[in-house]
Symmetry: C2
C-alpha cells in the first residue's frame, strides 16, 4: 500500500503527507447535513465552531447535493465544484457511494481523505475497500479509515468526533458524555473508535492532557507504523498510546517502532490475545490477531511497553509523560501506611523491580533523624521506609531527600495516605520541591475516592508527579519508567532522552 513499504514515498514525504490530516489549509465535509444527531452534522459543526473560535484557521466546505447551505456555509453539490484547492476531505456518507467520492477527490487532487463511514472489510466487504485503495493509490491520496473516528487535534481545531459532547437524560438533565480532553503531551493512536472515545472520556476525567487523537479503523492505507513515525516529529507529543487489534505490516512496523522508541515512549494495548478475543477482533475491524507470543516478541524488540490492561495503559502513559525513565531497577519506597507499603513492595518485585534494603549510609541517615526526633522512634527504615501514622509533612520531605540522595536508588514510590491526623497536605508541595533538585523519577499514591484523596492525587499530578489510587497501580507505573529506561540504556540513548525531556520541561 501507499508509502507503507517505503517504495514510492520516503519517510519525509510521509510526514508531509500526513500533515494534511492534522493541519489542512482547506477541508470539505462530504455528507454534511442539517440533521442534528447525524455524524455529518456533528463533524461539520465541530469545524464551524472551531473556525468561529479562530482555532481552525483553514477554509471549510460542506458538501451535500441536497442542501443549499448548512450553518451559514454555502453547500457544494460535489467536491469538484469547490473553487479553491483542497487538502482534506472527510467522508460521512454510506459505504456504497464512497468510491465515487474518492474519484471526485482524485480529480480534485486532494491530499488526504478520512473515511468515517463503515461497511467495508470489517463486514466482509473487501472488494469495496480494495476499490477505494486502488483509486487512492493511483491519485496519490492518503487515506485514514474506513470505519474510523478520524482525527482530533485541539491546537489546529481538527475535530471529527461525531459523538455528542453532552447527552440529555430522559429526566431532561444535560450531562457531559464525550468530553474533549485538555491539551497535553499524550497522543492516542487507536484502531477501535469506541475505545478511543472511552480513552478521551477517561483522560478528560482524570485531567490528563492529549496532544493528538487518531482513530484509523480498518487502516486500508495509513497504519500505525506511519502514524508513530509522524508523531515522532510532532513537537506536542511526548508519549504515544497505541491500541491495536492487529499489526499487518510486521517488518515495517518493527523498523519504525524500534527507532521511534529511542526518542519517544510507546505504550501498547494489544487485544485479541485469546481465541475468543481474536475471533471478536476479526469481526470488529477484520483484524487477524495472530499469535500473542509474536506480538510480545515484537513489542519487546521494539521497546514498546505492553500494558496488560486498560488501566495500566493509561497509568503508564501518564508516568512517561510526567517523569524521566529510571536508570536502573532499584527502587525505594516511602510510606506512612504499613500495609499499602507492603503491597507496593510486592508488586514492584513481581514486576522485576528490586526493593532491597537501603545502603548502610542511607540507613544511618534515617537513624540520625530518629535520634534527633525528626522521625518516629518506631519508623522502619529498611525499604520501605515507614514514617508511620504519625508522619508529618516535614518527615515526608526529609525522608524523600534522603532517598533522592542515594545514588543506588533509581526510582522512588511515595505513598502518602492522607487519613492520619498529623499529615498536612502541604507535604505534596514540599516533596515536589525536593524532587525538582534531583533527576530520579518519582511516582505517588493515595488511596481513597473522597475529596481529600482526589485533592492529593490532582495536586501531585499538577506538580508533575504522577499519582495513582492503589499501591499496585503505582508500582506498575514505576515499572513502565524502569522498563523504558532499560530499553533506552540498551540502545545508548538514555542520556539524550533525559536531556531532551528535561529541556522540554523547562520550556
Amino acid at each position: 500500500m501507499l508509502g507503507r513499504k517505503g517504495e514510492k514515498t520516503s519517510m519525509d514525504q510521509s510526514i508531509k503527507q500526513l500533515d494534511a490530516f492534522f493541519n489542512p489549509r482547506s477541508v470539505a465535509v462530504v455528507g454534511a447535513t442539517k440533521k442534528i444527531n447525524k455524524a455529518g452534522h456533528v463533524i461539520f459543526k465541530n469545524f464551524v465552531e472551531n473556525k468561529r473560535r479562530d482555532v481552525f484557521k483553514g477554509q471549510l466546505f460542506p458538501v451535500n447535493p441536497h442542501e443549499d447551505s448548512i450553518l451559514g456555509f454555502q453547500c457544494c453539490p460535489s467536491i469538484t465544484n469547490i473553487p479553491s484547492e483542497l487538502d482534506l476531505v472527510v467522508i460521512v456518507v454510506p459505504a456504497s457511494i464512497v468510491p465515487s467520492i474518492m474519484n471526485d477527490a482524485a480529480s480534485k487532487k486532494v491530499k488526504g481523505v478520512v473515511i468515517i463511514s463503515s461497511g467495508f472489510s470489517e463486514v466482509g466487504n473487501h472488494e469495496l475497500e480494495n476499490k477505494i485503495v486502488t483509486i487512492a493509490k493511483r491519485a496519490g491520496i492518503r487515506v485514514l479509515g474506513p470505519n474510523c473516528l478520524g482525527v482530533y487535534d485541539s491546537k489546529t481545531g481538527i475535530d471529527m468526533l461525531f459523538l455528542p459532547e453532552t447527552k440529555v437524560l430522559t429526566t431532561g438533565e444535560e450531562v457531559v458524555a464525550t468530553p474533549r480532553p485538555m491539551f497535553g503531551n499524550i497522543a492516542i493512536v487507536t484502531q477501535s473508535g469506541a475505545f478511543g472515545v472511552s480513552a478521551l472520556d477517561y483522560l478528560a476525567g482524570r485531567q490528563i492532557g492529549v496532544s493528538k487523537f487518531v482513530s484509523f479503523g480498518n487502516k486500508c492505507d495509513v497504519d500505525e507504523a506511519e502514524m508513530l513515525n509522524y508523531l515522532l516529529y510532532d513537537a506536542e507529543t511526548k508519549v504515544m498510546l497505541l491500541y491495536v487489534e492487529d499489526i499487518k505490516s510486521g517488518q515495517h512496523f518493527l523498523k519504525v517502532a524500534r527507532e521511534v522508541s529511542k526518542k519517544k515512549p510507546i505504550v501498547a494495548l494489544k487485544s485479541g490475545k485469546t481465541t475468543a478475543g481474536a475471533r471478536a477482533a476479526a469481526s470488529h475491524t477484520g483484524a487477524i490477531a495472530g499469535s500473542d507470543r509474536i506480538y510480545d516478541a515484537v513489542f519487546t524488540q521494539t521497546g514498546i511497553l505492553r500494558a496488560k490492561d486498560m488501566e495500566e495503559f493509561f497509568d503508564a502513559g501518564k508516568a512517561l509523560a510526567m517523569q524521566i525513565p529510571a536508570a536502573g531497577r532499584n527502587v525505594g519506597i516511602i510510606t506512612d501506611a504499613g500495609g499499602p507499603g507492603i503491597m507496593a513492595a510486592d508488586e514492584c518485585e513481581l514486576k522485576g523491580l528490586v526493593v532491597r534494603r537501603f545502603s548502610e549510609e542511607t540507613v544511618q541517615k534515617f537513624e540520625k533523624l530518629k535520634r534527633e526526633e525528626k522521625l518516629p522512634k518506631f519508623a522502619t527504615n529498611l525499604n520501605p521506609v515507614d514514617i508511620t501514622g504519625s508522619g508529618t509533612s516535614e518527615m515526608f520531605e526529609l525522608a524523600a531527600e534522603i532517598l533522592f540522595q542515594d545514588v543506588e536508588i533509581c526510582g522512588i514510590l511515595l505513598l502518602g495516605l492522607h487519613h492520619t491526623p498529623a499529615l498536612q497536605e502541604d507535604y505534596i508541595d514540599r516533596v515536589a520541591e525536593v524532587a525538582k533538585k534531583y533527576d530520579t523519577p518519582i511516582v505517588a499514591c493515595d488511596i481513597g475516592e473522597t475529596e481529600m484523596a482526589l485533592y492529593t492525587r490532582f495536586r501531585f499530578d499538577k506538580l508533575g508527579i504522577p499519582a495513582y489510587s492503589s499501591p499496585e497501580d503505582t508500582a506498575r507505573a514505576m515499572n513502565a519508567l524502569v522498563k523504558y529506561g532499560s530499553y533506552l540504556k540498551k540502545n545508548r540513548c538514555l542520556n539524550d532522552y533525559v536531556q531532551s525531556f528535561l529541556k522540554g520541561k523547562k520550556q
Copy 2:
C-alpha cells in the same frame, strides 16, 4: 491462645464472646481526653455522638485519672471505679501502662478489650505483648489488637476510628478525609489499620456499603479465623473482605474458612508475597509472611478467592455482594463497542472463563432480530454480540433477554458504553428489569470518568448490577462469581447458597 484452638472455648462460646466487641451494653474508653486530635478524644467523641443520636444504646464511661469530666460525661479515675458491669474496654494509653489497665479489666470481669495502642510485638516488644495475653487468658478476657484501629459498626454505633472524618487544608477549606461508609453487606477484616481506613474511604466514595469493620493489628488473641466464624452468623454480612499479612493458626484457619466459605464468600488480599514484601510485613505487624505458594494452596482449599491487587479485592467483593455466583464457566458478552468487547473476552479467557460461540439456537434468535431490523444488519452475534455504535436501549434489552434465555450461558457481561448518540440511559433500567426474571448473574461496564459514565455505573449498582470502569475489571468481577460458584458446586452447596441469597434479596 484463647479460644483459638477450640480447647477451652467452643465456637458457640466464641461468637457470644466476640459479640462484646460489636454489641456491648457498656463501654469504657481508657485514655479518653479533652485534647482534640488525640485518638482518646476522637474515639470517645464518636461514642458520645452515637449515643446522642441514639444509635449507640449502651452505657459509656470515660476513664482518665487527670480529668473530672469529658464532653459532659463524668470521668472515672480507673475502670475499677465504674459502678456498673462492664462489657468492653477500649484502651488508648501508652503501651507501658496497658498491663496495669488489663489487670483492672480482669478484676472488673470485663468481657472484651480493644487495645488501640501500638508499641508491642510490631516493634519487637514481645514480652510486653505476652504479659497482656497472660492476664487476658487468666481472666477470660478476649482481646482485639494491640496496634489496631478496632471496630466500626454503624448499626450499633461502635466507632473506634480515631482518624478525623474531615481535614482542614492549609487554605482553610474543610474537606472529607476519612468518611464513614454507608450501611451495606460487606464486612472488612483487616490486619493493617491504614489499609482498613483506605478501604473505608474507597468504599464510601464508590457508595459500596459496609456491615462491619474490624482491624486486629498484632492479633494477640482474636484472629482472622475466629472473626470469620463470627461474621458467618452475622445477619448483616454477606461477603467478607480479608486483608492479611500472615495467618498464624494455620490448621484452625483451614478448618474454619472451609466451612465459612460454604455459606458466605471470603475475598482475601494477602500481602508479603515477595522477599521485599515479607520483610516489610515483618516490621509492620511482626508478621512472618511465609511461602506465598502455601497461602495460595490454603486459599484454594478453603474456597477463599485471592485477589491479585487492591482493585480486584474491592471489585470481587462488590460482585459477590450483589449477584449470585455463576453455575459454570461459560459466559456471554454483550457490547456496543467492539474494542472493549474484545478486551473483556480476552480477560475472561485468560482467567479461565469460556467465551465460546453462542449455540445455534441463540445465533438464530439474533439473526431473526436482524431480519426484523431490530438489530443492526452488521451486528456480530458470535460472542461477544456487538450491537455496534448504533445500539439502542431496546437492542440492549432484546440482546440481554436472548442471553438470559440461553441455559448454556452461566454469566453475562454487559458493556454499555454511553458515548454513542443513539443510546439512551434508560437501557440500564430495561436490562435490570430483564435480569430480575432470571437467575444468571450479570455484571456491567462503562468506560469514562465524566458525568455520564459515573451516572451509568451508579445506576447499575443501584439496581443491583455491579458496574465497573474497565472491560478487564468487569471480567475479573465475573471471574470471582465463577470461581466462588465452582467452590460451592464442588461442595454441593450452590443451590442452598443461591436460595438463601435470593431470599435475603427479597427481604
